[in-house]
Every structure is written in C-alpha cells, then in structure tokens.
C-alpha cells in the first residue's frame, strides 16, 4: 500500500558520523555483499569485467572538498593565493536510504511495491510487485534507489553466479533481514554496513526513542537531516565534522615554550645540560 502509514513511535535508522568517516567504502561493499546473496538480492552488475562496469548498490560513498571561509574576502577553491585561507578539508559522505517518514518515493508508486513499514518505519520495495517504472527513484532526492535494467553490455562470458534478477527497483532495506534475525547472535543483529565500518562512524538505532543511544548522540552533536526542504523528514541523521583544531584556533594551542626558555638561552644549551641532575 503506497499510502503512508500513520507515524509510528519507532523510527529505525542510521546515524553517520562525518567527523570520523575516512571514506574507505567498507560500508558500501559490505552492504553489497550482504544483500547480493540474500533475500533482497541479487544486486546485479552490468559489464562487470568490461568497459562500462556498473551495478546496483544500496550505499555509496562520496568525497567532498570543503573550503572553510577565511576572514578575508576572496574565498574560492580555485584561488587559494590567500595564505590566510584555512586549509581545505575533506569530508567523506556515505549515502543510502534515509528511511524518510513522509517520502514521496512511496506515494508515487503505482503498484504498492514501494512501502513503509508501520511497525518500524523501514521503507522497502516488494520485488514481486514492482514493475520497474522508476518513478520512485525520480522522487527520491537522496539517490537511494537503484535498478538493474536489461543491459546490452552484459556479456555471456560474465561469470554471474546467479541469474540476475532485474527490472525491479532496489534499495537499502536497513538490513531488515538482519536486525530481527534470531538465527544471528544478538551482537550481529545490526545492519551489515554498521558492523563493517572500521572507524565505527555508523550507528544504528531507534531515532524515535529520545533515550536511545543514537538519539542522544544526535542531540549532543547536532545531527542533521539532509535537504529538509523536501518535507520527506528523513530518519537518518548525519553528525557534522567537529571543528578541526589546527593552528587557526588559539584555544587549543598551548603557550609556546619560548618564553620559558628565554632565560636558559643565555647559556649555550649544551652547557646548560651539563647541569642536568639525572638519575638512571
């Protein structure tokens, strides 16, 4: 049913810490691996060993240059003559479905294949109903939906281990087949991307519960939602990079020892050390 369920209390989602994401793509690949072989797969690849390799991924990692504003007037990436300009920052940015509360990707779907679960807010695509019209992908501003269409470059020498299921829309499932899975250890009942992330930049939890760990870290760190103007009310949150403590902020800079050594400098240092009373 493409009509949205009444807002539920439980809002499962991810929190991604842009302060510590190093852009390693582990989450993206672990996601692909988990889902490719599972109920929501395969995540087909086209021309996997050829000239135009591409395929379906539920999670992708971008990287951005950020030029923080300088006190001076001239400020753009192409003209860094101003030495006062702070050092450019790099921010890595994983992007997957945000499991929005009121997303159009669900309501535009003509078949009811795209739906939002009432019980936990996870947005899914029913692979048996989807006709592959792609309207939901057009409706998503976050680029969370992908589809494998019949592709001319798919060669027969392609060692696809499975008959790739194609033509239906696919997306992040929030690992619904892991998080409730009683055949897994409790510790493993988390999304594959969260478990994989080597810096622990990804967290999973109930953002509808203000007392959950994820809600707390969002509150503490000023976690934000992407492009709120669409009104989709994403559940996932991004934690902004913390201010970088390079030399430009004086607060973190300890006093230079120069003052305290002024006196000692009267003596040639080598002679000064003759005076050291050391014990071994």
């Amino acid at each position: 049913m493409t009509s949205l369920p009444a807002p539920a209390k439980k809002k499962l989602g991810l929190v991604i810490d842009l302060d510590i994401c190093v852009g390693c793509h582990a989450c993206a690949v672990a996601c692909k691996a988990w889902n490719d072989g599972g109920d929501f797969g395969p995540l087909a690849d086209d021309d996997p060993y050829g000239a135009e390799p591409h395929g379906v991924w539920f999670n992708r990692v971008h990287s951005y240059e950020v030029q923080p504003p300088a006190p001076g007037p001239r400020l753009d990436l192409l003209h860094l003559e101003d030495t006062a300009a702070p050092a450019p920052q790099m921010v890595h940015f994983p992007r997957s479905c945000l499991h929005c509360e009121t997303p159009d990707c669900v309501t535009v779907c003509p078949t009811g294949a795209s739906y939002k679960r009432a019980e936990d807010g996870i947005v899914l695509v029913d692979q048996d109903k989807c006709i592959g019209c792609q309207l939901c992908a057009w409706a998503c501003p976050y680029g969370a939906r992908e589809i494998a269409l019949p592709h001319p470059k798919t060669t027969t020498s392609d060692t696809d281990r499975k008959d790739a299921k194609r033509g239906t829309m696919q997306k992040c499932t929030l690992c619904v087949d892991r998080i409730y899975n009683e055949t897994l250890d409790a510790r493993d009942r988390q999304p594959a991307c969260v478990l994989a992330c080597p810096t622990h930049a990804r967290m999973f939890g109930d953002l509808g519960d203000p007392d959950s760990d994820v809600s707390k870290v969002v509150a503490e760190r000023g976690g934000f939602a992407l492009m709120p103007e669409f009104g989709y009310q994403p559940v996932n949150r991004y934690l902004p990079p913390r201010p970088r403590r390079d030399g430009s902020s004086t607060a973190a800079t300890p006093p230079a020892p120069a003052t305290e050594t002024l006196d000692a400098n009267q003596l040639p240092p080598l002679l000064r050390w003759l005076d050291k009373a050391l014990s071994r």
Binding site: D104, W138, R166
Partner: protein, 313 residues
C-alpha cells in the same frame, strides 16, 4: 534527467492522441462535429493509434512490463496509477463512440459518449502532467507552466491532426474558427514554453554544499564520486546537456511546434490550401514536440545530481 525515448514517445504520441480525442469528443458532445460515420471513426481510430502506440512505448520503459497491470492499484496516492486507470478508462467511451459512429448514430448517445471521451482524455492528460509536476526533486518540472503546457501541447498537436483529417476529408466543410483556434494555441504554447525556459534557466541549481548539509562549513565541491564510471544515478539523473546545443534545439523545437503551424494556418486560411498546409503543420508540430519533450527531460536537473562531481570536459 536522461531523455528516455520510451517516455518521450509516450507523452508526445498519446498526448496528441488524447488531444485529438478531446477535440473530437467535445465536438461530438456539442454536436458541432462536421462529419459522421467514417468521418468520426477515422480520426477516432487515428487517435487510438497514437494513444496506443504511446502507451505501448511507455511500457518499454518498465523493467517488468508484464506486470504493468499492477500499476492500476494505487490510484489513491499515485498519479502514475491514476494515469493508467484514466488511460484505460478512455478506451471505453472510445469504443462507445466507435460503435455508435459505426452504426451511423448521431444522437444523444454519441453526444454522451463524446463527452465522456473528452473527459477521460482530459483526465489522462491531467494525470500525465501531474506525474511530472508532483516530483519535488526536479525543480524544472515543478514550474507552473508544466501543467497547462501538457494540455496546450496535446490540444495543439491533436487539433492539428484533426484539422488535417477534416481538411483532407472531401465531404467535411470546416470553417476558419478551428484553425484559428489552433493558431492561438500555438502562440500560447510558444509564449508559455518560452516563459518556462526562461524560468528554469533562472532556477538555482542544487549545490553539493546544500545536498550534503556541509554548506555551513564552507564552500563544498565534489571531489570524487562513489564510482569512476557512470552508474544508474548519474546515467539517469545527472544527464547534462551542453548549453550550446540546448539553445539551438529550443529554437528548432519552437520553429516546428509553433512557427511552422502558425504559418501553415495563416497560409491555409488566406489561400485555402488547408489540405496541404494542415498535414505539414501536424507533422511539424509532432516533430517539434519530440524535441521539446527531449529537452523537457534533458534540461531538467534532478536534485540528486548535486551530490556528484560535475561531469568533466
């Protein structure tokens, strides 16, 4: 947005078909249609061909066309679903009109059927336009001109075909009101489209800083995308059209769907050469709309494109 041929075919061809059915249905309903029998049947069937060809084309845009019937279920929320229902619904009055016209009927039944045909055609056009108009992610399609243009273009191209039929049909005598109405439509279409283009050109593009929420930190530039080769998203939604090309194509489209039909109508009206001019105008308009529709996609920027590095070169 990537201009998908299937969707362009669909919106242009079935747009013309529904436009034609609108005129035909309204004329029948109002009892002003200047012909009967085959004179009704022929344009009706031509409309059927346009509509059906378009609809069939549209299914080739589907990943799973064999499941297309499922699209009828979500009329409560989905304009695409509504469009599917309306488009299928239009076949019922179409069949009624056909049956009645075949039987040579000119009575109230035909009037009612005609009215229903026009209504269904209008509804379908409304749904189609709304499919695009409702996508918040594509600012160009949110423009206020989008909805009226879908109607105007349908009426213009469908009307030109009806005019062509009537002009070619030996027995039907039509006045100048219809072609002049079409002329007015062409002018309105040109102005509205021009206005649309100016509007979307002025729209600010979504920026990487805004998309990522990092704009508060400074100026943001996409360094590396998630993949080095084109992917579904970049292929589908980060399509960019060289500016130079765009301007030329706009002029050609305008020439074909507005200037040429206007000239043809003027010539037809002043010289009575409708039989020559009308088909030229209809074909030109259809060709122009193909280009217009191509641009409608190619020049629409999807919000998601902002995440990706600007295409090189």
């Amino acid at each position: 947005m990537r201009p998908a041929l299937s969707v362009i075919f669909f919106t242009v061809l079935s747009g013309a078909g529904y436009g034609l059915w609108c005129w035909l249905g309204v004329a029948l309903a109002a009892g002003v249609y200047p012909s009967a029998g085959v004179g009704v049947l022929a344009p009706l069937v031509f409309g059927f061909v346009l509509v059906t060809a378009g609809l069939l084309a549209s299914t080739s845009h589907l990943g799973r066309p064999e499941r297309a019937w499922r699209a009828l279920s979500q009329w409560r929320s989905s304009w695409l679903s509504r469009e599917g229902i309306a488009s299928l619904a239009a076949y019922l009055p179409m069949l009624a009109v056909a049956w009645l016209a075949w039987r040579g009927s000119t009575g109230g039944g035909l009037r009612v059927a005609g009215a229903l045909l026009a209504a269904c055609a209008l509804a379908t056009l409304l749904c189609t336009a709304n499919i695009y108009r409702s996508l918040k992610t594509i600012a160009a399609w949110r423009a206020r001109q989008v909805l009226p243009l879908y109607f105007v273009f349908a009426w213009l191209s469908g009307g030109l075909w009806l005019w062509a039929w009537l002009a070619l049909a030996p027995h039907a005598a039509i006045g100048e009101a219809f072609p002049l109405t079409l002329l007015a439509l062409a002018v309105i279409a040109a102005i509205t489209k021009f206005d649309y283009w100016r509007g979307i050109d002025a729209q600010p593009a979504n920026s990487a800083g805004h998309a990522t929420g990092l704009e508060t930190l400074g100026q943001v530039r996409a360094f590396e995308g998630p993949v080095t080769e084109p992917s579904y998203l970049t292929h589908e939604m980060a399509f960019v059209l060289a500016r130079r090309h765009g301007g030329r194509l706009r002029r050609i489209a305008l020439g074909l769907f507005a200037v040429l039909p206007v000239l043809a109508i003027v010539v037809a009206v002043t010289t009575g050469q409708a039989a020559w001019m009308a088909p030229i105008a209809a074909i030109a308009a259809l060709a122009g709309l193909f280009i217009e529709r191509w641009l409608f996609f190619a020049q629409a920027r999807h919000a998601v494109a902002a995440f990706f590095p600007a295409p090189q070169g």
